[in-house]
Symmetry: C2
Subunit: 232 residues, 2 copies
Amino acid sequence: MLPKAILFDTFGTLVDWRGSVSAALAEIGVRHGVAADWLAITDAWRGRYRPSLDAVRRGETPFRLLDDLHRDAILALLPEYGAQALAPVADELIKIWHRLTPWPDSAPGLRRLRTRYVTGPLSNGHVALLVALSRHAGFTWDMVFGSDVSGHFKPDHETYLGACRLLGLAPADVMLAASHNEDLAVARGLGLQTAFIARPMEYGAPGERAKPAAAWTHSVGSVEELAETLEA
Amino acid sequence: MLPKAILFDTFGTLVDWRGSVSAALAEIGVRHGVAADWLAITDAWRGRYRPSLDAVRRGETPFRLLDDLHRDAILALLPEYGAQALAPVADELIKIWHRLTPWPDSAPGLRRLRTRYVTGPLSNGHVALLVALSRHAGFTWDMVFGSDVSGHFKPDHETYLGACRLLGLAPADVMLAASHNEDLAVARGLGLQTAFIARPMEYGAPGERAKPAAAWTHSVGSVEELAETLEA
């Protein structure tokens, strides 16, 4: 049964956060005369992502925008990597996440899918970030499910179910498309359809994470292949 | 100062609810062998709109989707207008509001404005209704501010301020465009910029309601004229 709506994980699934963030850090570094291992900083920055979300999810800290979690993380990391001189431009650094480069198939694939399906990002990014990112990357949506719409981060169930409720659809009529098996596993547990999109270069080199860990509804290599599969 | 984002009232401002609803009721009436004064029913249906929202706004009833308010209203009205035979298809009747016809300038004007400004509907319709309506009418948005995003109906302040907050913008950087002076007055009181769009045929004949009642930031005759004015 075809879905009526398709929700997309964003970081990693649609955009190349690792390549974009490291390149932007390098550019800002040059501008401020700071040299550092920008790829290592990028990986460490992303590494703090899940623990910072989990602290919110466990109720240890109130809900906060991803910008604020990103700011705390980068301010803690800069001295560790000899890049403390960038602390005064932390606002500029966190805005890097508002203009990540899409994988080449993302915008054309989303355009095709939207001709037939209701589409939206389901992301831990907030609405302002997703709006800026989508305009930068050329993504057009029917609705934007930022974390500040539900007040929750994935994999809290409220994010998936809240999006279904706002669309007026049963979970079985909604598909989550993501490059992360854990995200899909939670969505499947709640009754959504699932599409795994392999992004072997998300972490810089292909690994086990880039392979489907279960028999998802569909497993594809690009958003365009998903459009093909779903006859859009 | 130009705004960064423009929010649009929907019913009346962008779409012709009166012409669309009465025509759709007539079509459904023919199909079910029911003759009635469809324009009178349409006006009475819309007439119950504000009181039903106000009951929610005063806290007399919990927040409900516009579909549900529409259902209660039409089921009460059908017998009054000799159209009780349509009660079994109430679901079909309320869905009329999901596919209203846009004014001819709405879609092209919105398209132009979105090239330069972040845009979104700010409506008492819910997300599912606005998504369906936008796809039907050819409107494309950066974000959809349905009433179920804030859990409030206009003119509750939370609707206007919640949209600004989700966009990460100060009210002064956001403009409300609407054909209703009352809506604009509340937005102005909260610090938003304002654009009056005259819709003389919204209620079937030009009247005082179709004239700007104050010196709004801009007063125009169409969405395309607004795009021209804002250099989009």
